[in-house]
Structure formats: structure tokens, C-alpha cells
């Protein structure tokens, strides 16, 4: 028996499928977690692109919103894992699910790369020139990748 089938047949997956309300409750948590994660990330990215919070230092915005991002991320991953487990045997071959997971890996990779390189100098970006080109590139990529995760995520249900 395949691993996916074992996940699908596990007691917790079965319980989610058999309950009237557990699935939409998990979906609601997934949406709320996504809003906290993507909303906070978008605001930091837009700060780096000099679109929002121009009066605040990039470091003040980025450092302050990081915990919100983490809380959203944990809620999103936990609820997402359970939602996947409940439908695993039916959707693991879905191309939008695969595209979404791939984009998620890229989006997380983008965050890790940004934080281990350009971000280390963030406290020095408060001058007139603002965030350097590398930071603006990471921010643009981040917006595109997270939007891609959300769009492909929505498409899973339809194809």
C-alpha cells in the first residue's frame, strides 16, 4: 500500500472526511493563516519597494512583522497538512497542487536566501537611497511567488 493511501486511510484523515464541519473549519483556518502570512509579507515587500510605510525604516517594518508572518505560516502549514491528508489519495496527482507546492518551495527559498544575504544589512537602508536593488528584487520575486501560491492553491479545487 502506498504512503499516500496510508495517509488517506489514517484515523485523522478519515475523521476529517466523515465530519460535517471539520473540513470547512480547517479551510477557514487555512484562509486566516494565509491572510496573516501573505498580508504581512506583502506589506514588508511593499515597504522594500517604497510603496507603503515610506516614513518608517525598512528594518522597523520587517523586524516587527516577522512574528506575524511566523504565526500565519504555522497556522497555514498545520491546516494545509490536515486538508491535504484528508484528500491525499484524490488530489496528490493534481497538477495545480504540484505547482503550488513547487511555488511554495521557491517562495520559502526566496525568504531564506533574502534573510541570509541582503537582509543582514537592513538597518543601514534608512537613507535617501532606500533599500538596495537586491532587496527590491527579492521583494518583487516574493510578491509574485506568494501570489502564485495563492492562485494555484485556489485552482486545485477546480481541476
Amino acid at each position: 500500500m502506498s504512503v499516500i493511501q496510508q495517509i488517506y486511510d489514517s484515523p485523522i484523515s478519515t475523521a476529517i472526511r466523515e465530519s460535517d464541519n471539520l473540513f470547512p473549519i480547517l479551510q477557514t483556518f487555512h484562509i486566516l493563516g494565509t491572510i496573516a502570512l501573505a498580508g504581512a509579507i506583502a506589506i514588508v515587500d511593499l515597504r522594500l519597494l517604497n510603496v507603503i510605510f515610506k516614513r518608517e525604516a525598512p528594518a522597523a517594518v520587517a523586524e516587527s512583522l516577522l512574528p506575524v508572518t511566523w504565526v500565519g505560516f504555522v497556522i497555514m502549514v498545520l491546516s494545509g497538512t490536515l486538508l491535504f491528508a484528508a484528500q491525499s489519495a484524490k488530489i496528490y496527482e493534481n497538477n495545480f497542487l504540484r505547482a503550488k507546492l513547487l511555488l511554495l518551495v521557491f517562495a520559502i527559498g526566496n525568504v531564506v536566501l533574502f534573510h541570509s544575504t541582503t537582509y543582514r544589512n537592513i538597518r543601514n537602508w534608512s537613507g535617501v537611497s532606500g533599500p538596495p536593488l537586491s532587496a527590491r528584487t527579492f521583494a518583487s520575486l516574493s510578491l509574485v511567488l506568494w501570489a502564485g501560491v495563492i492562485v494555484t492553491g485556489r485552482f486545485i479545487a477546480y481541476f
Binding site: T34, L46, K54, R154, Y158
Partner: protein, 154 residues
């Protein structure tokens, strides 16, 4: 009258196009969620700032001044895509008892944000009334999302 408005919406070119294309419908939903993430992000950050949890070094007044236009733009995206989603299934929403509840909650949530914004922008520090408004706003916006999810199930 209201029924006619819903039916008219379903007969518009956009409504017909969305009823015929699954891709267009899913794409509209995706835009709705993207806009929602921005509205939700701004609300979350603004309310948490008033509650003293994030952006502690920034006066709340400044937070609300700087998020005013991003909030309005994102809300327009959510509203426009929301109208299109209704046009894709007008009768489903007309007959859904949760639809007026969701819209009512949205009005309450938006009013709370407007009241909090006005209060915070006209004072130097966040007082206890501001903090209560911020807490109420977080609850109201969460309720909008919950009602939105259940809307599709009934």
C-alpha cells in the same frame, strides 16, 4: 427589486462569461483572495499596532495615515471581484441566508475600521477605547471571513 438586480447582474456580459468559464471563475476567486490578503494584512497590522503588539516604534496615528490608501485600493479589488462572483451565480446568493449576514458583518467591520482610523488619526496616543475598537475590528473581520467560507457550503 433586489431579485431583479441579482438577475440583471447574472445577465451582464461579465456574468455570462463567468458562468461559462471555470478558469475565469477560479481566477476571479483567486483575485478575491489576493485582495482579501491585502485588506486582511492591513487590518491585522493596524489593529495589532493599536494594541501595542506590532510596530511599537511607530505612532498608531502614522500607521493609519500610511495604510489609508492601500486599504481602500485593496477593498476595491475585493468588492469588484466579489460583485463578479455574485454575477457568476446570482440566484445562489440571492437565496442564501448567509449572504446578507456576510454583507452586514462587512459593513460592521468596515465601519469599525473607519471609526478607529478617525479616532487614532485625531489623537496622539491610542487610548482604551481605541484598543477596544481594534479588538472588535479583529473579531468582526474574522467573522466576515468565516461567513464567506460558509457561504459556499449552504
Amino acid at each position: 427589486m433586489i431579485e431583479e438586480a441579482f438577475l440583471w447582474l447574472g445577465h451582464t456580459a461579465a456574468g455570462v462569461a463567468l458562468q461559462e468559464s471555470r478558469v475565469a471563475f477560479a481566477a476571479t476567486e483567486a483575485v478575491h483572495i489576493l485582495g482579501l490578503s491585502l485588506v486582511g494584512g492591513v487590518i491585522l497590522i493596524a489593529d495589532l499596532a493599536v494594541l501595542g503588539i506590532v510596530l511599537k516604534s511607530t505612532p498608531s496615528q502614522s500607521v493609519f495615515e500610511q495604510t489609508r490608501w492601500p486599504y481602500r485600493l485593496a477593498l476595491c479589488v475585493v468588492a469588484a471581484s466579489g460583485v463578479l462572483l455574485v454575477a457568476a451565480g446570482p440566484y445562489k446568493y440571492y437565496t442564501n441566508p448567509l449572504f446578507p449576514i456576510k454583507l452586514g458583518l462587512l459593513v460592521v467591520a468596515a465601519t469599525l475600521h473607519a471609526a478607529l482610523s478617525r479616532r487614532v488619526r485625531s489623537s496622539l496616543s491610542a487610548d482604551s477605547i481605541s484598543r477596544r475598537l481594534a479588538g472588535a475590528s479583529l473579531i468582526a473581520w474574522t467573522a466576515v471571513v468565516i461567513a464567506g467560507r460558509w457561504l459556499g457550503l449552504i
